[in-house]
């Protein structure tokens, strides 16, 4: 199958997705639309973490930090000035925070860029560390971002956070950004640069001997990942319309990590499928947190139970199917058509 056919098929797939979204918009209720939105954002986050961890082998736990940066940046850029005046009741915002304005698309890019810049800044010292330390250090980074968000009230409105963020992030924006993310990361992964990232993951010493500047490419992968994490955070802020520092706890990173590991470290297809599956399950499992009646007997719902269920699920995946749903395999058009033609010839005979 040649390149042109594949591009055509990809465009066709995107068109089918738009048709589905259009149909969903007409016939789904608000709740299901919300789930669709979360699927798109989770997929963006999972793809970006997979680039960092699954493909380049850097165990980073800083996603919540990059998301927070993206979310705050975007919110400041799209909150109307009057809304800002109402929000900052304890202290007045910096004048540039009060004045900053940008259209939504640029605000999301802005969120991504500031997150990428943060990724670059922390990456330069941290990526020289060994893998075990990187996890802890990036976790610390995310925590520092949260503490900063709490303690620079003139920028972030402190613990109160932002409310009434304009809800621009509809399914079109979210899935549009999902397609952009998927395109960019797939382009990188399928080029020789992707091979270089995987080489670094598989054997750093051998990669060095191949003339690869490990540090530079790790930093590149980390920064691109941070960019899309920032984009995901920006979209999330506009989708939920409120943000505050408590939202960006470690659990947020954990959710993304769970999706990536479930889908398969080193498989974009896996990340997308797991985003769909886990986002739906997460919503569906809310019932374990609400009271359950068995006959006349009432079991009190336990808040946080969903996470326990998911943590256990993650544990099982790591124990029994370490490679996740897809391993390192990817969906390929050739493969799909191969299946069809095989079945076709089997039917014919």
């Amino acid at each position: 199958m040649d390149r042109k056919t594949k591009i055509l098929l990809n465009v066709a797939a995107a068109a089918v997705l738009s048709l589905f979204l259009w149909w969903a918009q007409e016939s789904f209720g608000g709740y299901r639309i919300q789930i669709l939105n979360l699927i798109a954002i989770n997929a963006i986050l999972a793809l970006s973490l997979n680039l960092i961890y699954g493909f380049t082998g850097m165990f980073s736990l800083g996603h919540a930090g990059f998301m927070a940066i993206g979310a705050y940046t975007c919110s400041i850029l799209i909150l109307p000035e009057t809304q800002k005046e109402m929000l900052f009741i304890l202290v007045s915002p910096y004048s540039w925070v009060q004045a900053a304005q940008a259209p939504f698309f640029l605000a999301v890019i802005g969120g991504g860029l500031v997150a990428a810049f943060a990724g670059l800044l922390v990456g330069i010292p941290l990526l020289r560390l060994g893998d075990d330390y990187l996890g802890i250090a990036t976790l610390g980074f995310a925590e520092i971002i949260r503490v900063l968000a709490n303690n620079i009230p003139r920028l972030t409105n402190g613990a109160l956070g932002f409310k009434g963020i304009p809800d621009y992030a509809n399914i079109w924006w979210n899935f549009g950004w999902f397609i952009i993310t998927l395109y960019c990361i797939a382009r990188i992964i399928n080029s020789n640069l992707g091979n270089v990232f995987m080489a670094i993951r598989d054997d750093e010493a051998a990669a060095k001997a191949m003339g690869i500047n490990i540090f530079r490419y790790k930093l590149l992968s980390f920064t691109i990942g941070a960019f899309f994490a920032g984009v995901g955070g920006a979209l999330l802020a506009s989708l939920l319309t409120t943000i505050d520092p408590k939202m960006f706890l470690f659990t947020l990173t954990f959710n993304v990590l769970m999706i990536v590991v479930t889908g398969g470290l080193g498989s974009l297809t896996g990340s997308v499928l797991a985003s769909i599956g886990i986002t739906i399950l997460m919503e569906w499992l809310r019932f374990v947190e609400s009271p359950i009646f068995i006959g006349s007997f009432e079991l009190k719902g336990i808040p946080g139970m969903r996470m326990v269920v998911f943590s256990l699920a993650l544990l099982f995946i790591i124990l029994f199917r370490r490679e996740g749903l897809m391993g390192m395999r990817e969906f390929r058009w050739d493969w799909l058509f191969g299946k069809f033609s095989k079945r076709g010839s089997a039917n014919g005979s």
Partner: protein, 261 residues
Amino acid sequence: MDRDMILEARDLTIKFGGLTAVHSFKARIGKGSIVGLIGPNGAGKTTCFNMMSGFYRPTEGRVIFNGRDITGMPPHLVCRAGIARTFQNIRLFGNGTVLQNVMVGCHVRQKSNWLHNLFYLPSNLREERAVAAKSLELLKVVGLESFADEKSRSLPYGAQRRLEIARALATEPNFLLLDEPAAGMNPQETNELMDFIRKIRTEFNLTILLIEHDMKVVMGVCEHMWVLDYGETIAEGPPESIRKNPRVIEAYLGEECVADA
């Protein structure tokens, strides 16, 4: 005279804590030659490779490559300068396909960057296609083209060694360091390897330095060799003189006595 030298090791010494792994190693390697480094286990051969390829910084001494001092240069720059190496304990990119492994080797000579990738620049597409084609060519040279899409991990041992060589050639080196290329090969593979080493020398205009335990290989292909024992250079010269050298015989016999005990 100096013009024809490709690599010169000037009194390379390296210490790990109290242990002097290599002491005052001297070598002048002529362009286009095939030379060898031998010695019993733990003699310091791989350590010499590591100093020449930038993995270790010598405690004392200098490495001069093509008239340029490369002592202490990081490995990726040494590779860019034209020195490629293989590893004693094979180090492939295990999850990648055979072809991908070689393509990674091509990357150091690629010009386009990641932004060109994102924006689908025609120049980038052309370059990527050229890299894939060149990698496939190299696989043909080592006879692995039919395994191009297999996972590199799944190859048999001898094939993995040849893949490592193909990958090293992809970086377009002038100087190739082979660390025990015949290890784990059967006699027939070993014979083929000797012809293969001579073939790539001419085809790719290489100078080759190899470490090898298989005396048949070293004596068969090397024009000149150095013998290390406990980090000291105990002999140097063409194969005929090495074979007769009493100190070399002693070093190897000594090892066998230890092995027998």
